[in-house]
């Protein structure tokens, strides 16, 4: 059975360049998969660490839903609940610090008030220097290592915490390792005793209480008991798995997209293996025929091809692990740089490494099965024929693509990141399936598209164009396979580019459509409507209007929704919001009188609400509120994970417990922005507000989006690179197959340069046709990626710039890939070509 294996090895070494390119292709596919697995692992480990840091050894967490926090009564109720062994309260707020001596802070900090006795029993807070805070009320603090580094603090430094309460001078006694205990505080945290924090913020509530249950008691039992006892304030009760799930949900999109790109790269790598081995079998059909004539069994022939594939797979997978390690580090750096997800250098298990290698080998062998099977069908008579039937080759190839697709899809699902849910898996599969369908259908478009894209070549290189086009149309399935890989890579780039462009454009247009101002002044603490801030800002000459806005969470039918408190009259006069249903004036005036809400179309559709529907809310102490949906708008103010439900300030403060505005939207009088902006921004800073023009906010949003999508684009380029290797292989094979034809052209008077040019023209046309198909597929994939998304409603516009770049990329990659085959063609010996049989 294995008698022909040495021959397979010699067959690989005889075509070193082709073997090398195929191995590199597999290595890149496996490398991409490995990098994706490693990055996902890095993200998950970072999430695990964050969860551990967040909840420590607590079994349950009760978090306040409203800004005032949980009252003393609630904390007391928790402590008195049977089964609660320990309840550690904490308060978390943001503010600016002043250094002793009057220096200004580099940025806001998060203050965490803890119980110095109880907290260490739930949370570890390793110190790199100094000592822990020991007793409640002590005017001392711990700060994070990053804050110490960024702002130049050390043990013994003094700083002043200034918020709504009395200014408090404190002394730094210890430095907490790294970024400290709070995720999302950018590592700038000051930890003080909770009593001191209460004084600083003039507050009595707590943000959350971490609970340890009595040994042997089930957290579920305690949860039930807490639910019946906690009636004073609205709260959210969560367990470590809940927090973990919620954190993972924020990274799911990123991980899912990464996994999808990895699957596409592997699929393209499988294309390369499949195409290369198919071509090899066609090329060696006479040799196989001779082997059959000499008595080789079909099983021996099967092993002959499969053992070659095995060598390619093993070499490719091993090289892929090295490539993947390097690529994984780069992706990890990219993730950290973009801030797209929490990430830490992954600790890779032998299992992860083995999974990537096995998947690479498995996909290679699956891709090789069909060519191997086809080789077993070659009869001894085949060795006497000049050509094998291209029709049967085509049918077999395209059918097998489906098997490869299913295999890669199946291993993709096995390696699917656990954070990404079913919907994302479905979305990725749909996009992935679209790529397959486009590849299978592409032979139908090759001839007409080649004719169109070949037109520019007709003018100067009529013969080259005619021969190149004919060559591409001669075996459309092979062309489809070669070009399919390129199209798939380009489709990913176009799809990602399209989604990115839409996200940027939408974010820009969105803000302009819903924010009634030219400038935004953000506060790190809620600014009460009674405070003179609004009046002070309005008094600045040139300022037309100032409107306060607060964003917060609400719970509706057990689901968390984003909400925003707004002044309806201000939106009415500034003509913001595009109403799709309901009367603009009635709806916006209704917000100010209370009892009304305005929904974004996406939220209304998701919740099945219409104008006139009632949204019922229950609050603490048996409070209840019914809001009537007064209008549905195209887009609302963006929240953390979706569009906000707009409510009036009356309901926001009266029912939802909102203390004040997060930010103010400021509209300048017509033509006065330039002259007023400076004075306004100075005044805003003096009121502890951070001013930013709408353009700057839009710019920051689009920059952040650009960085994340840029990372995806860079990864999709790997698929294009693998496709380029496929083009080199296929064009080289095509040149070798046409050696007689090229010899005739040379004998008839074509120079070596002309022959090379003809191959280049063929590659150019191939690249352009691939680009056109890739763009079409990419647009559909992009629309699909957004159509199946959640939260935000986005309309899809063709990304013209990206499409242009894809055409240029497809053309240039093909031309670059054609260099070697073209050189090969130009050096064909006429004599050997015409004597070749």
């Amino acid at each position: 059975m294995l008698a022909l294996v040495p021959l397979a090895w010699r067959s690989l070494t005889a075509r070193r360049v082709r073997t090398l390119l195929t191995v590199i292709g597999i290595a890149l596919g496996v490398g991409m998969l490995y990098a994706s697995l490693a990055t996902s692992l890095g993200i998950e480990q970072a999430v695990d660490r964050t969860v551990l840091e967040m909840i420590g050894r607590a079994d349950l967490r009760v978090a306040a839903f409203e800004e005032q926090g949980l009252s003393e009564a609630s904390v007391a109720a928790i402590r008195a609940t049977p089964g609660v062994a320990l309840a550690a309260p904490s308060l978390e707020r943001r503010l600016y610090v002043r250094r002793a001596g009057g220096g200004t802070a580099a940025g806001p900090v998060t203050v965490l008030g803890i119980d110095p006795v109880l907290n260490p029993q739930v949370h570890d807070m390793p110190l790199v220097n100094g000592s822990a805070i020991t007793s409640a009320g002590e005017p001392s603090a711990l700060i994070t290592e990053r804050l110490a580094r960024e702002d130049g603090y050390g043990i013994g430094s003094e700083l002043t915490l200034q918020a709504a309460g009395e200014p408090m001078k404190i002394k730094i006694v210890g430095i907490v390792a790294g970024d400290g205990p709070i995720n999302g505080a950018a590592g700038r945290t000051v930890i003080v005793a909770i009593g001191l924090a209460h004084k600083v913020f003039a507050a009595t509530g707590v943000t959350r209480v971490d609970i340890r249950v009595v040994d042997g008691t089930s957290p579920t039992t305690v949860t039930a008991a807490l639910t019946s006892r906690l009636t004073a304030d609205p709260y959210v009760l969560s367990t470590p798995p809940d927090l973990e799930a919620s954190l993972r949900a924020t990274t799911a999109d990123f991980q899912a997209t990464l996994a999808m790109i990895a699957a596409v790269s592997l699929f393209v790598g499988a294309f390369l293996v499949f195409n290369t081995l198919s071509l090899t079998v066609i090329e060696r059909s006479r040799e196989v025929g001779l082997l059959r004539a000499a008595g080789a069994t079909r099983l021996q022939v099967l092993w002959y091809v499969m053992s070659g594939a095995m060598v390619l797979g093993v070499l490719g997978s091993l090289l892929g692990l090295g490539t993947g390690a390097a690529l994984g580090s780069l992706v990890g750096m990219g993730v950290q740089a973009t801030g797209a997800a929490p990430y830490e250098q992954p600790r890779l298990s032998a299992e992860t490494v083995a999974i990537a290698a096995w998947i690479g080998l498995f996909v290679t062998l699956v891709a090789a099965l069909e060519p191997a099977w086809r080789a077993t069908r070659i009869t001894a008579i085949e060795s006497l024929r000049l050509r094998i039937d291209p029709g049967s080759a085509r049918r077999a190839r395209l059918r097998w693509l489906v098997v490869i697709f299913v295999s890669v899809g199946a291993v993709g699902l096995l390696a699917w990141p656990r954070a990404a849910g079913d919907l994302m898996a479905l979305r990725s599969l749909a996009v992935y399936g679209l790529l397959l369908v486009a590849t299978i259908l592409s032979p139908l478009f090759i001839a007409p598209l080649a004719r169109i894209v070949g037109l520019p070549f007709v003018v100067l290189m009529r013969l080259d164009e005619r021969l190149a086009r004919g060559s591409l149309s001669r075996d459309r399935s092979r062309t489809a396979l070669t070009m399919g890989a390129l199209s798939v890579g380009l489709a990913m780039i176009v799809a990602i580019g399209g989604v990115a462009q839409e996200a940027r454009a939408t974010a820009t247009a969105w803000l302009a459509n819903v924010i009634p101002g030219d400038e935004i002044a953000t506060s790190i603490r809620p600014v009460g409507l009674g405070e003179p801030v609004t009046v002070a800002l309005k008094a600045i000459p040139g300022v037309g209007s100032v409107t306060p806005i607060a964003t917060f969470d609400i719970a509706f039918r057990g689901v968390r929704l984003d909400a925003a408190a707004v002044v309806g009259a201000d939106f009415l006069s500034d003509n913001r919001l595009s109403f799709e249903e309901g009367s603009r004036s009635d709806a916006l005036n209704g917000l100010d009188t209370g009892g009304s809400a305005i929904l974004a179309r996406s939220t209304a559709d998701r919740l099945g609400l219409r104008v006139g529907s009632t949204m019922a809310f229950t609050g603490g102490a048996g409070k209840a509120l019914n809001l009537r949906v007064a209008g549905i708008v195209e887009r609302s103010i963006p929240g953390r994970s979706g569009e906000t439900v707009l409510v009036g300030w009356t309901d926001a403060t009266g029912f939802f417990g909102i203390d004040g505005a997060d930010f103010f939207a400021v509209r300048y009088l017509p033509g006065r922005q330039a002259s007023t902006q400076g004075a306004f921004e100075d005044a805003a800073r003096s009121l502890a507000l951070e001013p930013a023009t709408l353009n700057r906010v839009q710019g920051a949003v689009t920059d952040a989006l650009g960085r994340v999508f840029g990372l995806f684009d860079a990864l999709a380029l790997i698929a294009v690179l693998i496709a380029a290797l496929g083009i080199v292989n296929t064009l080289s094979m095509s040149v070798l197959e046409r050696v007689r034809e090229l010899g005739i052209l040379r004998a008839t008077g074509m120079t070596g340069r002309q022959v090379a040019r003809m191959v280049m023209v063929e590659a150019g046309i191939l690249g352009l046709v691939g680009s056109v198909i890739g763009i079409g597929t990419g647009l559909a994939a992009g629309a699909m990626m957004m159509g199946l998304g959640t939260g935000f409603r986005i309309a899809f516009e063709p990304p013209w710039l990206i499409m242009g770049l894809a055409v240029a990329l497809g053309f240039l990659v093909s031309m670059a890939a054609a260099y070697y085959p073209a050189r090969l063609a130009s050096r064909i010996s006429i004599i050997r070509a015409v004597q070749f049989e």
């Binding site: 013969l463 005619r466 004919g470 005739i744 008839t748 008077g749 070596g752 004599i831 015409v834 070749f836």
Partner: protein, 250 residues
């Protein structure tokens, strides 16, 4: 008649691996304009190698080839290609046509390669003329796989003639054809020579084909062993040639 092709002391040494093979060992010849010359000899005698050197497809190890007044062995690869394009035509035993192109396109290929449009003016007339000569009228739009082997070879002859080359080289053009089809092809070659003054150099091991020639150069062991002058004849009986070959012990 003026001399169109000269070869002086041509040698060709092949070195496959560790061994070396003297394919040609000092060949000199002159071919006159309008002459039909056949190169005959057993396998390995060097006749195809000589044709390749004469046609500029390969470079000699030593010696000179002068075609239409130009010394091919001194030309660069590109210059030799251009000379080949303008002054020679080739017909091989196998694979003469580009499968993607139809009969007219295959015949017009040399013009396309030279950057000319074969669908206009005189070139179009020339193509029609050679199609007529090789008796392929009505099959202009056929692709090679729609033609018989003999028709394919006639297309190859038409393509070789269409540029009105100084000399036409044919390497075993009937080797892949049946007897009657082979004769039709030889008739076409002879007609081009006899009616139009085309110089033809034919490599063959078939005495029936060689009998169409005015002169037969008999090769053996890399040298021209003998020359048999048959003269221009309407009939191409093989008797005199076979008799002479027999005298030579071939």
């Amino acid at each position: 008649m003026p001399t169109i092709l000269q070869a002086r002391d041509l040698t060709k040494l092949y070195q496959p691996g560790m061994t070396s093979v003297d394919a040609l060992r000092g060949v000199s010849l002159d071919i006159q304009e309008g002459e039909f010359v056949a190169l005959m000899g057993p396998s390995g005698s060097g006749k195809s190698t000589l044709l390749q050197l004469l046609g500029g497809l390969d470079q000699p190890s030593s010696g000179d080839v002068i075609l239409a007044g130009q010394q091919i062995s001194r030309l660069s690869e590109d210059q030799a290609t251009r000379l080949r394009r303008s002054e020679t035509g080739f017909v091989f035993q196998f694979f003469n046509l580009i499968p993607l192109l139809d009969v007219t396109e295959n015949i017009g290929l040399p013009f396309r390669i030279a950057g000319q449009n074969p669908n206009k003016g005189e070139l179009k007339t020339r193509i029609a003329d050679v199609i007529d000569l090789v008796d392929l009228k009505g099959k202009e739009r056929h692709k090679p796989d729609q033609l018989s082997a003999g028709e394919q070879q006639r297309v190859a002859v038409a393509r070789a003639l269409v540029t009105r080359p100084a000399i036409l080289f044919a390497d075993e053009p009937t080797g892949n054809l049946d007897y009657h089809t082979g004769l039709e092809l030889l008739d076409a070659l002879w007609a081009s020579c006899h009616d139009r003054g085309q110089t033809v150099v034919l490599v063959t091991h078939d005495s029936k084909a060689a009998a169409y020639a005015d002169r037969v150069l008999v090769m053996n062991d890399g040298r021209i062993h003998d020359q048999i002058v048959l003269g221009r004849r309407e009939t191409h009986e093989t008797g005199p040639l076979i008799a002479r070959l027999a005298q030579l012990g071939l």
